[in-house]
Amino acid sequence: MKLTINGEPKEIANPTLTVTELLKQEGVSMPDMVTVQLNDEFLRPHQYPDVTVSDGDTINFLYFMGGGQ
């Protein structure tokens, strides 16, 4: 299926893929530490293992940014 991931068009061989699996495939080692938008809708981390992506979807993920002095 064809997805747009963080602005880049990508061809994914696996026809069924959860958001958790996709994040792992994209090299995200700690999925809970990214915020995900699927087709411009925010997902909550507890949804990542259950929500599957579909052909034509746009998925963007950004890492949590925080810290302190």
Partner: protein, 132 residues
């Protein structure tokens, strides 16, 4: 190497001074070659002198604007109003993005100090900054 235009460098220092004693934060976008082109000041949702967190909605707005410009988010910056320009233990612990540059603007000395770091799996590496 990170290349920051003089005007954006000035914006970072000015924003850190205006925000003190609270920490300020934001993204810088640009090319994969490390050349910064766009500054995205973001809200520190912690509104704290010792901590910062980005607002996810603002993060995505910056991401989408940068993408539309053909750029990518290459720097996460924040200020240290009262401590040196080096990642704290909390900065290192919460540095989940292995690709982004982490820039710190310190106001602890007489003159502002701005430094950049890559942080991967808890290992901190200094990154040179060129003011262009």
């Amino acid at each position: 190497m990170l290349k920051i235009p003089e005007n954006i460098y000035g914006e970072l220092v000015a924003r850190a001074r205006e925000g003190a004693p609270l920490e300020i934060c934001g993204y810088l976008a640009g090319g994969a070659d490390g050349e910064v082109k766009t500054h995205y000041p973001l809200t520190n949702t912690d509104a704290s002198a010792e901590h910062f967190s980005f607002d996810p909605k603002e993060q995505f707005a910056a991401f989408k604007d940068a993408t539309a410009r053909g750029q990518r988010l290459i720097v996460c910056y924040h200020s240290h109003p009262a401590t040196p320009a080096r990642p704290s233990a909390e900065d290192i612990k919460l540095a989940y993005d292995p690709n982004i540059s982490y820039v710190i603007i310190s106001l602890s000395a007489a003159e502002p100090v701005v430094k950049s770091f890559k942080i991967k799996a808890g290992t901190v590496t200094n990154e040179e900054i060129e003011i262009t």
